[in-house]
Symmetry: C2
Subunit: 364 residues, 2 copies
């Protein structure tokens, strides 16, 4: 993939929504904005993390806050570029390219909008290989790279620059600003040299998203064929197949938090899966036992179309398949587990890789 | 007054605490920091607002948040200059002088610290002529001057730059940052040209503070003589004389909020005054009827020493005199009353100047 055109955007939006594990925002809104940007400014050039200029500066562009809000509080359109350029001016250095901070319906699209509007290359990488709810949950953090200076803005035009003593403080201050700005804000953070991008990012996530999206959107393949190919290219596992019977959620401190219950379609088996989420799906339990744990990806797709299901579109009666993809190896280190493992989110489970849980019978 | 030396600091700390109407922080801590700065760097040069360079930039340096916190969370010492210089760098223009944003124990002292450490002149003015609890409550706001760009920092070293679409948004975003930073932060905001300082500031507040402090601290004068001189130089009124019998307060959203009851010393008269405060004293009622209303100043002083009483040092049994000083004429306009009048703070009283209330019998 050398250019992102309209067709690539359609694929990336779907694929990134899957990797977004329920978070990362509604793919529809993000996609429409990116399509409109590419339509106006032309396709976006993609470069591999291997091709970056090691001395130059690259930054993510992203949305922060509860994705639910985006449905009601539409972006104005100029905020993506405004926040990016504000950071550039503050750094006093030209930013040579943009990349997604995470995979997700909205956050895979915003860098495309910025790249198109500013005629910058998009680097084929991200900082998570999935989506996570907090700023410090990036592989850059694991590599000692600061989240700040960062810029933050809202659709009204308010702007903040934040520089903190550590990445947890960046999360705290940006989160309270996001909440005050109306529970959603645009950010550009974590300025990296090309060398840091090469070393610390997760490579080829944009391409992977596009490939996933192409499979899900295929008109030639049958549902089960698509599903098998998905598992194949992601190394994922088929965990459960059922109907959502309960969803509890609330928006607190700028997050969508909650829990869903999925019951097996053959009710007589009595099997059920509970999934806990904070923007993203974090923990899946089957009959009370863990079958997938953060940082491994827990993804829901529509049973028929395999369209990724975001946490804000969960509803009673929806039939879904639950799959889990192994997380990037950087997350499976001690500092990775400390940063995004089950205990960080308040769940008293020891992280066990999904492939080990599957060996012990977690799979369908 | 051409220089602020140790003696002037002692006087200003006391006088500004009186004008601080209960808010503006504990005068002791602020004073100690200023004395130490002047001791290390030498006396601070004071210039009149008439002497500023009309084209140059001048900014306040201040503390934001609940003053109570300052007693437990001591400043580190470098944050006053750090935030000021951060704003200067962000503006890309040399700041030629500093001034207090308000009168108050702490906020009259911080500009002295910055002026001493950076060898800058202190402009003899402020933005309130008293203290008020919110950022947009400055005469600069009434004159259409923006609170931002502003810089904010904490004692840990976290820094924010805020640029907003209006001054109420500046207050909202800076307030949430202040709360997250631990309910107290240092700011430098409202950058003004010299011309704006001349036109929009309240002139000679530093000198007035010093004169008030000199009277209160005088060793020659008797208490009643001091009191009479105070009323004379401020145009103030003697409203009540009594004993604090109840104090209700809580820290919420970064403010000290509460209410006190003062009973007349001759209990048989049954007279009592209630004063409502939000950092600063805002409303005084005598037997349920208003005797002084924001923006006019409601000041408490110790019955014997005439030392100003801050809201954080209120306690049962303390004997106090309540006086009220007419606010600056800029506050008594329609936009002034809209910004800081009783209704803004949620009290359903029509603003009436204290001199009119006194005519109707509010005085002792």
């Amino acid at each position: 993939m050398h250019k992102i055109d309209a067709e690539a955007i359609e694929n990336i939006a779907v694929g990134a929504a899957l990797l977004g594990t329920g978070g990362g925002g509604d793919p529809y809104i993000g996609k429409m904005m990116a399509l409109s940007a590419v339509n106006e400014y032309g396709p976006v050039r993609v470069i591999s993390p291997e091709e970056v200029d090691e001395e130059a500066v690259y930054t993510p562009a992203a949305s922060m806050g509860a994705p639910s809000i985006m449905i009601e509080k539409m972006p104005k359109g100029d905020e993506f570029v405004r926040v990016f350029q504000k950071l550039e001016k503050y750094l006093g250095k030209e930013i040579k390219g943009v990349f997604p901070i995470e995979a997700g319906g909205v956050n895979s699209m915003i860098p495309i909008i910025v790249a198109a509007q500013l005629n910058l290359p998009l680097v084929d990488c991200d900082g998570m290989g999935r989506a996570f709810p907090e700023l410090q949950m990036v592989t850059f953090h694991l590599n000692g790279i600061s989240s700040t200076p960062m810029a933050i803005t809202d659709e009204k035009g308010n702007i903040g620059i934040i520089e903190t003593i550590d990445n947890v403080w960046a999360e705290r201050l940006a989160r309270t600003a996001t909440v005050e700005m109306g529970a959603r804000a645009l950010i550009s953070n974590c300025p990296c040299t090309g060398k840091e991008v090469k070393q610390a990012s997760i490579h080829n996530v944009v391409s992977l998203s596009e490939n996933i999206g192409r499979i899900i959107r295929s008109k030639e393949l049958e549902t089960q064929e698509k599903f098998n190919q998905l598992l194949e290219i992601t190394g994922g596992f088929d965990l459960f197949n059922g109907k959502i019977t309960d969803v509890q959620r609330n928006i607190e401190a700028g997050f969508n938090r909650g829990k869903m219950v999925i019951e097996g379609l053959k009710n007589d088996t009595g099997e059920q899966v509970e999934i806990y989420f904070q923007n993203e799906n974090l923990i899946a339990l089957k009959n009370g036992e863990p079958i997938a744990l953060t940082p491994d990806l827990i993804c829901l797709v529509d049973q028929e179309t395999l369209a990724p299901v975001t946490t804000e579109s969960l509803k009673y009666g929806k039939r879904v398949r639950v799959l889990s993809l192994p997380s990037a190896s950087q997350w499976r280190t001690n500092i990775g587990i400390e940063t995004v493992g089950p205990r960080y989110f308040g769940y008293e489970y020891e992280y066990t890789p999904v492939e080990d849980l599957v060996k012990n019978g977690a799979c369908v």
